[in-house]
């Protein structure tokens, strides 16, 4: 039966490219790349990498920005919860972060660049009344600062909402109210109570997402190209430059850099795990001491306020790109354009539509395959009463935890061998590797939680398993299925490296175009591309909510 093959097929789609890709990145790192005549073991790639100008700085940037982003994102997201969990605005906050969750990291980074750069919105809002600047300050370095602070900030705009969402999902499984009530009865403030008793429980459940954030922040390429330091850039950007360059001899150090990137992420995760125990012990000692200090509560409130500020900045970033796409002339230090125009959208409609069409086509194809595989796995699980364990969850997270750069080069090598590089099928598959985990993770809980008595009742009336699946389960799960599809679609729209590598540079999507234009392109065209980057996934979310609402509007039980 075909359904029984679903888990194996899913595993092959996910783990196959990761494992094979890693292997075929590792081989060139040690001199083996037969296509270029590399047939002997050699450490030249590593020597070239270590001797590259700025290598040590690149290394420090990779580790520093990655760890800083992850730590800050976790603290801020947790602070947001500690400060807001007991306040009524929490549900509204959840809707507010949807645009940030939907838009690609590169789109948010473009908007952030416009906020933070010396001629950007933040300086404009303060000029000239507060700063006295009539022209953009020349000496001020903000975007692309050598320490990577703006890179961390741009990443936080995406990662704080993401971890907040994960905490939202996890807190549904923990009796938050009961736990905090107990601690509050002992005289703790609400934020302190949350940090004392709820967070440790939630942390266990968001650990894999935290590792995904760590791996992503350490190895992100598109955001680093847009707002990160350029000379030297972080390791993953360095490797991408070498892979994409015309000098084929640089493939060897590039493969070595990609391999090193993988090792760095593994080491960082191990380090993180090593620090968990002592921190948990400190936490226990804090609880045991029974301290009534107000400091932790205040710290949580401050972190929460910062997270709130970050969300506002993120939304402003998206708004900034929208304004730019309609801006005529926009002199410094005016806060809004002097003239508005529609000409850009009219003139660029053809090109933009082509880019959006390609992006949406790839996304829809990847999402369709991901949905079929996910539903097949979940249905197979129910028919055979399977309860997949933690190992399966790690496998699903595998593509999100192994850095993209570490296996995409190997994937490209294999695609070239198979003559598939640059084909739409290759790009769709490369996207699928990242779309599938998100679709699976966002659908699995709802699928497993569906009251089994619906299916039993239907079967008792003589309905076969396929009829039950099609006529009962699918309609009852229409909303979570479509939301999972929208999540997957947003993930696909965001992909930069997979498009670049599997597409052999010949497939242009909104995201590859945004990154290409980011270095010195017309800011208005950039605004237009970034707006579309956010609009497509947002439209998908809108449809995912509207379609079931309209289809079942007659039925109150479906609300």
């Amino acid at each position: 039966m075909l359904l029984r093959l679903a888990p194996a097929a899913t595993l092959a789609v996910l783990a196959g490219p990761v494992v094979l890709g890693l292997a075929f990145t590792l081989l060139p790192a040690f001199g083996f790349l037969p296509a270029l005549g590399g047939t002997d073991f050699s450490l030249d790639g590593w020597r070239m990498l270590f001797a590259a100008p700025g290598f040590a700085t690149a290394l420090a940037l990779t580790v520093g920005t990655g760890l800083a982003t992850t730590l800050l994102a976790l603290i801020l997201a947790a602070g947001l919860f500690a400060a807001a969990a007991h306040r009524p605005g929490m549900a509204r906050l959840r809707r507010l972060i949807v645009p940030l969750l939907a838009s690609p990291p590169s789109g948010v980074a473009l908007g952030f660049a416009f906020l933070a750069m010396p001629s950007g919105w933040l300086v404009r809002l303060l000029s000239p009344w507060a700063t006295g600047w009539q022209v953009p300050p020349a000496g001020l370095v903000t975007v692309g600062d050598p320490l990577g602070a703006s890179l961390v900030a741009a990443l936080l705009l995406k990662e704080v909402p993401y971890l907040a969402l994960m905490l939202f999902a996890a807190s549904a499984t923990v009796p938050v109210e009961r736990l905090t009530a107990a601690a509050r009865a002992l005289g703790r403030g609400p934020a302190t109570a949350w940090a004392m008793v709820v967070f440790p429980r939630l942390y266990r459940q968001v650990r894999l997402p935290v590792f995904a954030v760590l791996a992503f922040s350490m190895s992100v390429v598109d955001v680093a190209i847009i707002v990160g330091p350029g000379n030297p850039p972080p390791l993953a950007v360095l490797a991408t430059r070498w892979f994409q360059g015309y000098d084929l001899a640089l493939y060897y150090p590039a493969a070595a850099a990609a391999t090193l990137q993988f090792l760095l992420v593994v080491i960082a995760i191990l380090l993180w795990l090593a620090f968990e125990r002592p921190i948990a012990a400190l936490h226990r000692r804090w609880l045991a001491r029974g301290s009534r200090s107000r400091v932790p509560g205040t710290a949580a409130e401050v972190a929460g306020a910062l997270a709130g500020l970050l969300i506002v900045l993120g939304l402003l970033s998206l708004l900034a790109m929208l304004i730019w796409s309609f801006a005529g002339s926009w002199r410094f230090p005016a806060a809004l354009p002097d003239h508005w125009q529609l000409a850009l959208w009219r003139d660029e409609a053809g090109g933009a539509a082509a880019l959006a069409g390609t992006s949406a086509g790839i996304g829809l194809a990847a999402v369709a395959i991901a949905l079929v595989l996910t539903l097949a796995c979940l249905e197979n699980e129910q028919r055979h009463g399977l309860h997949p364990g933690a190992a399966v969850l790690w496998l699903i997270y595998l593509p999100l935890i192994v850095p993209q750069i570490a296996f995409l080069f190997g994937v490209q090598v294999l695609l070239i061998h198979a003559g598939l590089d640059g084909t739409p099928a290759a790009v769709v598959w490369a996207h699928l590797v990242f779309v599938l985990p998100f679709v699976f993770l966002s659908l699995a809980d709802a699928y497993r939680a569906l009251d089994p008595r619906y299916a039993m009742t239907a079967a008792a009336m003589g309905a076969g398993r396929w009829r039950v699946f099609l006529m009962v389960k699918l309609p009852l799960l229409a909303r979570p299925i479509l939301v999972a599809a929208a999540v997957g679609f947003a993930v696909s729209i965001a992909q930069y490296l997979p498009t670049l590598f599997a597409g052999a540079g010949r497939v242009a999507t909104l995201t590859t175009e945004a990154v290409t234009l980011s270095s010195g392109g017309d800011r208005r065209i950039l605004g237009l591309v970034a707006v579309l980057q956010t609009a497509l996934p947002l439209a998908a979310y809108g449809l995912a909510l509207a379609v079931p609402f309209l289809a079942f509007r007659r039925f109150r039980g479906m609300a």
């Binding site: 008792a460 009336m461 003589g462 039925f555």
Partner: protein
């Protein structure tokens, strides 16, 4: 008993044993014959495995959580080897479990055997007739979420009966109804089972349900205790 009640379409359980995988014996070699038109009752406190017994009869038992054996027959036909959808054993749960995405008529049409009424108009007529007989005339297009508790329970039973089951399983179907409604719905369900000559197996923790059923009563007392045969 004289004659062979099995031949007339009785529900027969022969040597049915169920144990959970952690080693608890829930049901130990249960023999029970429920003749057509009779409602037999399995009594016992909650958590004792009553619902698991019905799950075994209906074909839904979770084989990873329970080890179960023994024959289940309707008349002379053995059904415990068949998939749930081929057993034609209707089941009613504590909740009406109406499909929330279908109208009342949609719910009732779901189970109507497709071989018998092929024609759409005939199928709808059959549904309308059943609703009318149950005092629910004109409810075809209603959203099940807007029905009262008693109406939902009636629609739920009608849906099960329209699927033309050969036996009826009742998994505490009156447990959530308030006292006044309870007697009413109970009488409705039992009357339909008798009228159609269906063997019915009721599980409940409420002795009153068992008395009202009027058939044999089996007590599931717990681990290791062998219940008397019916």
């Amino acid at each position: 008993m004289s004659g062979d009640p099995a031949a007339a379409g009785a529900l027969v359980l022969a040597g049915v044993s169920i144990a959970s995988r952690d080693g608890r014996h829930l049901v130990d070699r249960l023999d029970l014959t429920v003749p057509p038109g009779i409602v037999a009752t399995v009594m016992g406190p909650s958590g004792i495995g009553k619902s698991t017994l019905l799950a075994y009869v209906a074909g839904f038992i979770d084989r990873r959580a329970f080890a179960a054996e023994g024959r289940v027959m309707i008349g002379h036909e053995r059904i415990d080897t068949l998939p749930a959808e081929a057993r034609h054993v209707g089941i009613l749960f504590q909740d009406p479990v109406l499909f929330p995405h279908l109208s009342v008529a949609g719910n009732l049409l779901f189970g109507l055997p497709r071989g018998r009424w092929r024609n759409r108009a005939e199928r709808r007529a059959r549904v309308s007739e059943a609703l009318e007989q149950a005092g629910l005339a004109g409810f075809e297009d209603r959203d099940p979420a807007t029905l009262s508790g008693g109406q939902k329970a009636r629609v739920s039973l009608l849906r099960t009966l329209l699927a033309e089951p050969r036996a009826l399983l009742l998994d505490e179907p009156f447990g959530k109804l308030d006292a006044a409604l309870r007697a009413d719905v109970r009488a409705f369900v039992f009357a339909h089972a008798r009228e159609r000559g269906l063997p019915a197996l009721l599980v409940t923790h409420d002795a009153e349900d068992g008395e009202a059923a009027g058939g044999p009563v089996v007590a599931l007392a717990g681990p290791g205790v062998r219940p008397p045969s019916g």
